[in-house]
Every structure is written in structure tokens, then in C-alpha cells.
Symmetry: C2
Subunit: 130 residues, 2 copies
DNA sequence: GCTTGACTTGAAGTTAACTCCAGGTATTAC
DNA sequence: GTAATACCTGGAGTTAACTTCAAGTCAAGC
């Protein structure tokens, strides 16, 4: 799979894919004889994983660290787990905050509904009194 | 209430408070005779609201638009409601995505648990065989 | 054999959202 | 009255995360 196919498949720009690789967010992608990227299933798996984690707000820095630990093999299993646990905690906090804000938005939208109705009534009333 | 008290109260830097005001994210703050900001209850309310919305990922641009509509009075009620509905939809999408990722992290952490146990067993096994 | 189009690289540019700085004013403490 | 402190402004600088660019390679079609 070449880079533009991967780009379409995951909705990440070609430039972003190269950037992620350059920055060590995904392990080096397999290349053909002439140096052109040829993504394996596994390479695609990494792309998908990174896309997912970035979408949840994990930083480039954190993901680079994770991949770097991964590259060092089994002796970093515990460290990787700890990293994921820390990131999960942050994610849970963000989720909580956002859920609160969602509730607030719902409430606010309801409030606007009522306000709009009240406002229309007032306009109607004024017209009658003219 | 002066700016440093507001800064402490909401955990936003003084520079950020001034920046938000300059950018029109909050309506102009009340000033005393010598031009120094003196936040009223209402000013604080706006700060809190913007902090909350920024925390949920609403952009500066969007919030500026909202405040600008607010400043124009009742004839923008419907537009403001529409804006909030659109932002709520985006927020819900972000939430969904993040919840999926949370599940995935949970799964992955479990997986690491098992892998670590398996790895330790293997090490133990090797030691016995020596 | 040469043009076209997709790939490559390193480096520079962009964007959003702050954050810092220099130079100035006003109030309080001594 | 002057030194310290907290505020003010406009503008420059920073950071993360891309995004664009210039210059080059390579394979396919004509």
C-alpha cells in the first residue's frame, strides 16, 4: 500500500503521515527497492492507532515516547503500561469536563428556546398595541 | 475584583485574561477611574463561561462570534442558539470518539497486564532451566 | 527519449492559542 | 519624595502540530 492509499484510508494527509514517521510516532515504514514507502498491514495498524490516540488528545511527545519504548522490546512492558495508565487518567478527566460542558450547553440551549418564545410574544404584544 | 484575584479564582493566567478580553472572548471588563480592570460578578461569570467552553474545545474564533452576537442584543437569540447547537454536535462527536479511545486504552492496559505476567513466567522458566 | 505524475527529502512557513517583554502609570509603605 | 509593587498597553516571541515548498528521483505512457 502506497502513501496516498494510506492517506485516503485513514483520512490523514500524506504530509501528516510522513511527519508522524519522521517524528517517530510510528515505527519506520517498510520501503521498496527504490526507497518508496510500501505500508504493510502492521504499518497501517500503527497509523490507525496513532490517529485514534491523537484524536483523543494524546500529545505527539507522549506517543513518540510510547513508540520509543515499544522499539526497546519486552523490558519496557511495565513502562508502557504505566504510560497508558497515566494517559487514560488524563483522558478520563477531559471526558468528565467535557460531559459537564455538554450538560451546560443542553441547559443553555433550552434556555434560549424559552427566551426566543418570550421574545416573540413580546413583539406580538407590541404589534397589537399599535 | 482585580485581575490577579480573578486569575487565581479561575486558574487562568493574567495574560490569558487580558488576551481573552482583547480578542473579544469576554465583553469589555469594568474599569475604575484610573483605567484598572475591576471585574464585576458578571465579568467573572463570563470568564468562567469562556474557561468552561475553551476546556471543552470550542475555538477562540467561535467564542468571539458568540460574544459578538450577544453584544448585538435580542435579535441574535436564534443565531446564538444555532451556534450553540452546532458546537454541541461537535462536542458530542468528540466525546464519542474519546469514549471509544478510552475503551481501547482499557483493553490495551488489560492486555499489557497479561503480557507482563506471561513475560515474567518466561523469565522464571529460563532461570529454572539454567 | 522525454514528458507526466507520484513519490522522495530537508527545511521553511503557517496557525491557534497563548506568553512574554519593554516601557509607562498609579498606589502604597516608609 | 522615592522605592516597591501591581497594574496598563502594543507588540514580539513561543509552542505544538502540522503544511507547504523547492529540488530531486523514478516508473509508465507515448
Amino acid at each position: 500500500m502506497n502513501i496516498s492509499q494510506v492517506s485516503k484510508k485513514y483520512g490523514l494527509s500524506i504530509d501528516t503521515l510522513r511527519y508522524y514517521e519522521k517524528e517517530g510516532l510510528i515505527p519506520p515504514v517498510h520501503r521498496n527497492e527504490s526507497g518508496i514507502r510500501d505500508y504493510t498491514e502492521q504499518d497501517c495498524g500503527w497509523v490507525e492507532f496513532i490517529k485514534c490516540m491523537r484524536g483523543a488528545g494524546l500529545s505527539i511527545e507522549t506517543l513518540r515516547e510510547y513508540i520509543s519504548l515499544h522499539a526497546k522490546g519486552n523490558c519496557t512492558l511495565q513502562k508502557r503500561k504505566d504510560l497508558l495508565i497515566a494517559e487514560r487518567a488524563k483522558l478520563q478527566e477531559r471526558l468528565q469536563e467535557m460531559q459537564e460542558t455538554l450538560k451546560r450547553l443542553n441547559y443553555k440551549i433550552d434556555f434560549y428556546d424559552k427566551k426566543i418564545v418570550a421574545c416573540e410574544k413580546e413583539l406580538l404584544g407590541r404589534r397589537k398595541n399599535k
